[in-house]
Symmetry: C2
Subunit: 440 residues, 2 copies
């Protein structure tokens, strides 16, 4: 048997680690045979040398099986989840899970919290009075079966090796490494007991991956490794140069997510939800791609069944279901600062990163994992790139607790915008669709 040092040295020298070696390394970390410093050295060697799809699959499996795989065998049907790599204003999950469930595809969803400039689904859901994101695995399975969808946070039982390794990566400068990102995402998602996964890989200023080539490489690796792990996986590359939709914050984003189910949300966030929903219905085996899938989603919104599933899910998770029909029950901070355009023309740009950082600074996000968030503060964009704007017309509204303390954050939002004389070229929302090599 190779020693741990030999396994690290092999990766350091550009060789391939066997699945057995990788499993032993991950198992060893949780069982105490492998020290943190050995894992750190291996992670840095992986940063330089990479992992091939076979090694990444082994790493994913080892991290997945460090904990418990949720048992959803009591839920009939093909279970499909969606994962977004994170962006600003990305509240899609909150509408998408009940929408897809309403069409007949069970959606077991384990989500995360906001960190850095990106928001997190759990923080947005907790803006709903009473909503509980920590549920026992048994309740999770029951709600998915009875309601069609359930949205919870990662428990201590899910992929504990991922938690341990992620914490190490965070303090050893080994976060930005595609195979490690892939294994981290997939180990958690596969622990949900899903059959298929639709990935929303964000690209641009407000995304983790700022450039399209890196985002594409991440999407391809996720699809390839997820497929090797026996799941049906498809990925969309979507634009994250400017925030998605108009709302950035927590309660304000949950309002907008529920607006999607009432046909009252901005076009881009609605379209993003429908494109991802189409992929989920196809993956769930209940609709052909294109027209059939889109019609089913449209009907579930129009006839109110999607909103009904949202109400049932919220109620099942302890929340006040009346927020679905009356979004004003989601409380937003009452101090409102209007940012007016200094020039007439067209909005050329609204920097998602700047808006995301302003939202964090207002209190809607966190810079350390143990911080609490303010669900009420947030930003509403009144104009988006491509929109015409008159001089003095509002570009955005910022909702704060104390007007006097928000000046710097408001300036940040103001500076995120640029206005020019001519309309900018339109940007497509979906840049590409990534499928497994031998799939469609």
């Amino acid at each position: 048997m190779r020693s741990l040092v030999e396994i690290i040295a092999a990766k350091r020298d550009g060789a391939t680690n066997s699945p057995q070696d990788i499993t032993r390394f991950v198992k060893g970390l949780t069982e105490g045979e492998v020290a943190d410093y050995q894992m750190a050295a291996w992670l840095m060697a992986v940063y330089f040398r990479g992992l091939d799809d076979n090694e990444t699959t082994a790493l994913t499996h080892a991290m997945l099986h460090s904990g418990r795989v949720l048992d959803l065998s009591s839920v009939p049907g093909i279970k499909v989840d969606k994962h977004s790599t994170g962006g600003v204003g990305d509240k899609v999950s909150i509408a998408l899970a009940p929408l897809v469930a309403a069409c007949g595809v069970p959606v077991p969803m384990v989500s995360g919290r906001g960190l850095g400039h990106t928001g997190g689904t759990l923080d947005k859901l907790e803006a709903i009075p009473g909503f509980r994101t920590e549920l026992p695995a048994r309740d999770f399975a029951r709600i998915v079966r009875d309601v069609g969808c359930c949205m919870i946070g990662q428990t201590a039982e899910i992929a504990p090796a991922d938690k341990r390794i992620y914490a190490l990566r965070d303090v050893t400068a080994t976060v930005e490494c595609i195979p490690l990102i892939v294994a981290s995402i997939l180990s958690k998602k596969l622990a949900e007991g899903i059959d298929a996964l639709v990935l929303d890989v964000k690209v641009g200023r407000g995304a983790f991956m700022k450039d399209e080539a890196r985002a594409r490489a991440l999407a391809q690796a996720l699809v390839s490794v997820g497929t090797r792990a026996g799941k049906k996986v498809v990925g969309l590359l979507t634009d994250m140069e400017s925030p998605l939709g108009a709302a950035v914050g927590n309660a304000i984003e949950t309002r907008e997510a529920l607006d999607i189910l009432a046909e009252a949300a901005p076009a881009d966030v609605t379209e993003c939800t429908l494109r991802l929903g189409e992929e989920m219905l196809v993956a769930g085996g209940i609709a052909a791609p294109g027209r059939e899938a889109r019609d089913k989603l449209g009907a579930a919104i129009a006839n109110g069944t999607a909103a009904r599933v949202a109400e049932k899910m919220i109620e099942a998770q302890g929340g006040d279901p009346r927020v679905v029909g009356d979004r004003s029950r989601l409380a937003i901070a009452t101090e409102e600062i209007v940012i007016e355009s200094k020039h007439g023309g067209f909005v050329a740009r609204c920097d998602a990163l700047a808006v995301g950082l302003a939202s964090v600074a207002l209190g809607a996000g966190r810079s350390r994992a143990d911080q609490a968030v303010d669900h009420g503060v947030g930003i509403r964009l009144e104009k988006k790139p491509g929109d015409a704007v008159a001089r003095g017309e509002p570009l955005a509204r910022v909702f704060v607790r104390h007007r006097s303390k928000a000046a710097a954050d408001v300036d940040r939002v103001r500076e995120a915008f640029s206005v020019q004389d001519t309309p900018p070229p339109p940007r497509p929302l979906v840049l590409d669709r990534i499928v497994a090599a031998n799939s469609t």
Copy 2:
């Protein structure tokens, strides 16, 4: 101030770490601010990206000042030490220190133990009955002043950060990295309170560096960084394809080292000692290079002053000084196995690595740092590369405790030799002399 993660990320991305950042990292390790896993990640990044001479100097200083620098201000004269990167049969220090001291240059020497296939000076010295290698710093300074030389082991006070970092490198596959080797060697040597250092960088099968280019790069880095640290440093690249001298073991090597002072040792080990001694006398400012230095060394051997210094040093360190005049007092295992040549011809090769590993397997060395060694077992080479040998003539003698248990080790020594019909081309002992860029 940069965060620790930013310091690691900068090195990871090929940037230069500032001396302040490097100092903070090393200081942080000993003080608890930097975790082992962060140091491990940084070490692996250094393995890939290297350190320039400026960074290596900063690392050396930080490791040096993690502990105590011995105070030899009470010892007059330019204090000079020698360091060998390690080989098989390298017993030079035991003759060299008293020889150079006898010529008037004080030699404060902190040596190591054998690990892996290479022997260690401390293990060989401890073959002398009563000899103590652990002495308080005060006694060390006094003996250097009174006798001219003293040879001890590394104390806990010397460069503790080096000990900690070396232990980490050992388990994270980051040992074979020239700037880390340089900082480790120099931090310990500079802690001796020396003014000048002569390096013996070994090249070949029995050396840490198997190929000349890597050995040369190590020698150049050692000379450059040592010079930047304000010391006079010169390096010799010397051959380590076959063992140095005829003796491999502990007591048997100490016998041969003392033979050097009695003009009774093999030519190669005597010449190696004199070449290094010449460099030390020149560095110590008491002789011009070449004839003058060689004459002084020759006189100190011929008139017995070198042997007298050896006796005084041994006595001052608790050992039996009679071993100098009567080397048979150094006990050697009594079971003797003769390896005879199966063919007549010329010895083409005697693989130092194979002989070194056989010696360890016999019990003369250790594979773990906490193992005890057997001072009596060992090997005497009767023939060396270039020597003519008749069929049935002895190639080597192996001295063991139990004849029946030694068969595999004896075979290893036998297989280290190859005999051919024609004499091999002669190999020079000293391959090159490495000096600082602006020195001679």
